[in-house]
Amino acid sequence: MAVDNGRRRVVVTGIGVVAPGEAGTKAFWDLLTAGRSATRTISTFDPTPFRSRVAAECDFDPEASGLTQRQIRQWDRTAQFAVVAAREALADSGVSGVNDPVRTGVMAGTACGMTISLDREFAVVSDEGRKHLVDDAHGVPYLYDYFVPSSMATELAWLVEAEGPVGVVSTGCTSGIDVIAHACDLIRDDAADVMLAGASDAAISPITVACFDAIKATTPRNDEPESASRPFDLTRNGFALGEGAAMFVLEEREHARRRGAHIYAEVTGYAGRCNAYSMTGLRVDGNEMAEAIRVALDRSRMNPEDVGYVNAHGSATKQNDRHETAAFKKSLGDHAYRVPVSSIKSMIGHSLGAVCALEFAASALAIEHSVVPPTANLHVPDPECDLDYVPLTAREQRVPTVLSVASGFGGFQSAIVLAGPEWSGA
C-alpha cells in the first residue's frame, strides 16, 4: 500500500464535462474564461405558464456524443450526460485497460435523478394528471431505471468495468462535492485505487421549474435571459436553473505516478456539515459552512492564507450570497478580503447536484491553466458582499490551491480543497 505520512493520497487524472453551451471540457473552459453566460429562455418545453422561464441549457447532441439509438431512447438525459462526461474523463486519464476491475469503483452524484423522464412518463400514464390510478398499459419498460437513480451508477460501472464499491451520493445541491469526497474516502480507506466519480443533473422540466417557482428561488428576469444569473450583484433576484455533468478519474497518487498519468490536482481535504435549521433556508451567520471550511483546510494541513482561489456557491439568491460571504470571513479571516472569489453559476446557471462537480472541474482547470474564472454579470456590487468576486473578466494568475464550497437543500454545507501537483505544503 502506498502511503505518505501514513495516509493514501488522491489525485485527479481525468476530467469530462457536459455543460451549458457546447459539450466537452474545452468548450466549458472557453466559456468560463471568456466570461460568457449560457443562460437563455427555456427551449425544451413551453415555459409560458411559469414564473421563471430562464435556464442554462446544454446544446447536447446525444448522437454526435456517441450514444446509440437504444441508449438515447432508454436512458434519461441525466444518465446520458453522465456517461458522455465519463467517457471523456476516461479517455483524458488513459486509465482504461490499466485499472484492475476489483480495485475500481464508481460514485455518481445527483440531486434530481431521472426527473425529466419521470415527469414525462407520469403525464402519459396518468393521462395528464386526470388519473390517480396510473395506467399500467402505457408504462414504458424502463420505469424502474428512472425510479432508482442507482441505475446510472450501473451504466457507469459497466463503462469503466468497475467491480469495487459502486453507488450514488445524493445530498441535493452539495451532491457534486460530497460524491467526490466519498470517492476519495474509499480510495484512502484502500477499498479502491481508481474511482470514476462526479455528478449529473438534467432537471429542466416542468415539475422542477414549478417547485422553484413556488419558493421564488429562481430568477424571474425573463426579459434579459443572458444576464439573468447575477451572483453577488445588488440586482440579483434568484438563481437560473442549469443542467450538466462533470465526471472525474480519481486515483491513488502512487497508482497514477507509476503509470505516468497527468495529474491535474490533489484532493487534499473536505468536510460537510448540516445546519439543522431549515430544509431550504440558511442561517445568516454562515457558521456551518465556516466550520466545514475550517475542517476541510485542517485536513488539508493548510492555513487560510494558503487558499489561492475560492470557487463560491454563488447561487445569486440574496440569502446565499450573504450567508456565504459571512462564512468566508469567519473561516478565512482577513485573507477572505485578499483571495479571489468567483461564482461560475453566473455563466452556467445552477445545475443542482451536478453544479459543484462542474465547479470542481473549473477549480482543477484553474490550477492547470493558472486562470481564475470570473463572476459574470456582476456590475453593481451588493455592499453587503464586499469581497473580491473577480467581476466580468478572467484573471491570469498562479492558482496553487482552490477551496470550493456548496450549500444544499436539506441544510447541507460542504467544502473541498484541491492543490496543484507541485503543492508541497500538505
Binding site: 413556488a214 419558493i215 421564488k216 424571474p220 433576484n237 431549515s278 430544509m279 431550504t280 433556508g281
Partner: protein, 84 residues
C-alpha cells in the same frame, strides 16, 4: 372581493402548512409567524395559496416582510383592493 380575514388566514395556514398541537391560533394578530412555528416555506405555501385562490399577485417581498398575521392580512387586502 370580500375582505381577507384572520379566520380565512388560519384556514389557509392549517391547510398549506399544518399546525402543531398546543399552538393556539386565536389572538395571534401580532405574534410573529416564526413563534407560531411557521418558517418561510410555510409562508410561501400560504401566500401562493392565497394568490391562487383570490386571483391576485402579491409582491415577492411579502413573505419576508409580512412577519405577523396582521402584516400579511394588510398585504393581502391591499392586493385585493388593487385588483378590484
Amino acid at each position: 372581493m370580500a375582505e381577507f380575514t384572520l379566520d380565512d388566514l388560519i384556514a389557509v395556514l392549517k391547510e398549506a402548512a399544518g399546525a402543531d398541537e398546543g399552538v393556539d391560533l386565536d389572538d395571534i394578530l401580532d405574534v410573529p409567524f416564526t413563534d407560531l412555528g411557521y418558517d418561510s416555506l410555510a409562508l410561501f405555501n400560504t401566500v401562493n395559496t392565497i394568490e391562487r385562490d383570490r386571483g391576485i399577485a402579491l409582491p415577492d417581498e411579502t413573505v419576508v416582510e409580512a412577519t405577523t398575521p396582521r402584516l400579511l392580512l394588510d398585504a393581502v387586502n391591499r392586493g385585493l383592493a388593487k385588483a378590484a
